[in-house]
Symmetry: C2
C-alpha cells in the first residue's frame, strides 16, 4: 500500500541517462558534466530520492546494525544505558535493535539467535539474572562477531566489558555506615553467580574487615532480584535476634522494598536502621526519607559499551579484551544520616 520509492533507475529513465551516470552525478563525480549533475540533483530533490538502504547493505555486505540485549526494558537503569548506546550508534551511522531477555536465560538465548538472523554487526549484552552458563556465546566469539558485555558480565578474558567499580563502591558504603555508627551492617545481594553480586560482596567484606567488624552469615542475603524476595529478605533480617542497624540493597528497587518493610515493622530510618541503595534512580529522591544511593553512570556506561563495540569492528586484529571500569559516587541523603 506504500507508494513506490523512487530509484536511480526512475531518474535515469526520465532524464534519458544511464543509471551509473545518475549514481555518479549524485556523488559529484569529477567525470560528470556540470549541467548533468545539476539536472540529476534537481530531479532527485524534486522526487525526494533517497538511497535504498537494503541495496546498499547488500552491496557492502553490512547491515549497520548493532543488537542490544538487556534484562528488562522498564527500569531507568537499562533505559538510560540504552540511550547512551543509541547516541554513539547514531553518531556513527549505526542502527540499534533492542531486545529484552526479561531476566530469563531461555529468552536470552532466543534474543541472541534472533539478532544473529538479523545479521547484526555486533552485540552489546547485559546477562539475565538466571544466566550462569555462557556457552551460548561460543558461536559469536568463534565467528569473531564483535561483542561487549556491560554490568553483568562473563568471559571477561575473551570479551571486552564495561562495569562499575562495584567493589570500591561497596567498600565506601560500608565505611559510610560505620562512620555513621552502624555496627551490624546487612547486605541484600543478588544471585551469587552474577559478577555484580560477587564484586559488591567483596567490597562489603573489605569494608567490614577494615572497620574491624565481624563478617556474619546472617547479615548477607542472596536473593533473586524481585520485589517479593526483597521483602522476604528484609523480614528475615528484621526477625534476627539482633537486627541490623544498617542495610545495603544491591539496587534501588531492593532498597525501596526494604524501606517499606522496615517502616511497616515500626522501625525508623535512619535512626534505627540506615539504608543505602545502588543505581541512583530519580526516584531515590521521592521516598521518605530520601534514599542514599550509589550514582551509577548509566548513560556513560552505554556510551562506553558502544564505543568498545565500534572499536572492535574497526580493528583488523583481534583486540585484547579490555575492561572499562567506571567510577561511581556515593550520593548521601537522609536515609543514612542520623
Amino acid at each position: 500500500m506504500t507508494k513506490h520509492h523512487v530509484s536511480l533507475k526512475d531518474i535515469a529513465e526520465n532524464l534519458g541517462l544511464s543509471i551509473s551516470t545518475v549514481s555518479r552525478a549524485l556523488k559529484d563525480h569529477p567525470d560528470i558534466g556540470k549541467d548533468t549533475i545539476e539536472k540529476v540533483k534537481n530531479l532527485a530533490r524534486e522526487w525526494n530520492y533517497t538511497p535504498n538502504p537494503l541495496a546498499m547493505g547488500l552491496l557492502r555486505q553490512q547491515t549497520k546494525t548493532i543488537g542490544v540485549i538487556v534484562p528488562d526494558l522498564v527500569t531507568y537503569f537499562y533505559a538510560s544505558i540504552i540511550s547512551g548506546i543509541e547516541q554513539i550508534a547514531r553518531d556513527n551511522g549505526y542502527y540499534v535493535i533492542i531486545k529484552s531477555s526479561y531476566e530469563s536465560f531461555e529468552k536470552e538465548k532466543e534474543c541472541l539467535e534472533h539478532l544473529l538472523l538479523s545479521r547484526v554487526e555486533g552485540l552489546i549484552v547485559c546477562l539475565s539474572q538466571e544466566t550462569n552458563q555462557f556457552e551460548h556465546f561460543d558461536n559469536i566469539i568463534k565467528n569473531e562477531i564483535p561483542l561487549v558485555f556491560f554490568d553483568r558480565v562473563c568471559r571477561t578474558d575473551e570479551v571486552p566489558s564495561v562495569v562499575a567499580d562495584n567493589r570500591e563502591a561497596s567498600l565506601q558504603i560500608t565505611r559510610h555506615f560505620f562512620e555513621g555508627g552502624a555496627r551490624r551492617i546487612a547486605f541484600i545481594a543478588g544471585p551469587q553467580h552474577l559478577n555484580i553480586t560477587r564484586e559488591r560482596v567483596l567490597g562489603y567484606q573489605d569494608g567490614l574487615r577494615e572497620c574491624g567488624l565481624e563478617i556474619s552469615e546472617d547479615l548477607l542475603q542472596y536473593i533473586n532480584l524481585s520485589t517479593e524476595e526483597a521483602r522476604n529478605a528484609t523480614q528475615k533480617l528484621l526477625s534476627l535476634e539482633k537486627i541490623p542497624d544498617a542495610i545495603f540493597g544491591i539496587n534501588d528497587m531492593i532498597a525501596f522494598e526494604a524501606m517499606k518493610e522496615i517502616k511497616k515493622a515500626g522501625y525508623k530510618i535512619p535512626q534505627d536502621i540506615s539504608l543505602v541503595g545502588f543505581t541512583d534512580d530519580y526516584h531515590a529522591t521521592v521516598t521518605e526519607p530520601e534514599l542514599t544511593s550509589v550514582m551509577h553512570p548509566t548513560f556513560e556506561m552505554g556510551q562506553e559499551a558502544a564505543r568498545l563495540l565500534l572499536r572492535q569492528s574497526q580493528e583488523k586484529e583481534r583486540v585484547f579484551p579490555s575492561q572499562v571500569i567506571l567510577k561511581t559516587k556515593l550520593i548521601i541523603r537522609s536515609s543514612s544520616v542520623k
Copy 2:
C-alpha cells in the same frame, strides 16, 4: 572482520548444484528429489546457513521494520509502551527501531526523517511536548505510510490513534477528591496544546461542575512537564491566599515533585492536602504516603498501537481512522484518603 556468511551459492558450489535447486530444496519444493533435499539441508545445517535478510528485503521490497518515536526513553511509561509494541511486532515478524525526540520538536522532525531513510513500513508516534504544529506528518500521510499516534495525538480525523479515557479518568479523580471532603481542588496540567492536557482539564472541570464547585483560574496551572516547573507550580498553589485542599498532577512525576514541595512547606498529606497522580508508575508505592494514581494501561496501549499499525498495512483500502480509547482505573492509596 566478521567471517563471511554462507550463502546459497556456497552450498550450491559445494554440492555441484545450481543456486535455484538449493533454494527450492530448502523449501521442500515438490519438484526436488528426496536425496537432494536431504543433502542440501544437511550441509545448510552444518554450515549454519541463514537467509540474508537484506537480499530478501530487496527482493520483496520490504524492510519488515516499524519506527517508533517517543518523547523520552527513560520513564516507565514509554518503556512499558515500547514493550507492548515490541511484542506485537515480533509476533508478526517485524523489527522495531526506537527513537527519542527528547521532548523536542526539532528532534522529533529529525527522528521522522531518519526513520524514513531507513524505509520503515510504518510509524508509531507520541508527540513531543513542544509539538504544536503537525505539518511534518504531511508527507507520511500523503504517501500513505501507515501511521499511528498514541497518548499525545494529533490529526485524529486522518490518523488512527490510541488514547486513555483521559476525560473520564479526570472526572473520577475530581469526584474522589470531593467525596473525601476536598473543596478547593487544584490541577497541575501540561502544555495547553496537548490533547492529554485538554482532555484531562475537561474532565476536571466536568467534575467540578458536577460537584457544584467553582472553577477557579488560580487552581489550574499549565506547565511544561519538568521537575522544576512542577515544583514552581506547587509553590504557587501553596502561596495562594486560600491554598488548595487537593492537588491533581497530570502525571506521577509531577505528583512526586508536588509531594516534596508540600512536605517541605510543612503541610500534611492527605490531612491538609490530598494528592493524586496519573500513570501509576511502580514508584507510586515507594513514596510516603503512597500515591493514589490512575492506572494507565501502558503495555496494552503499545499493543493496540502496533495492532492498529499492522492492520493499516494489511488493508488494501484506506482504513477509516479509528481511535481506540483504553479504560483506566483509579488506584486509591493513602495520599488521598484521610
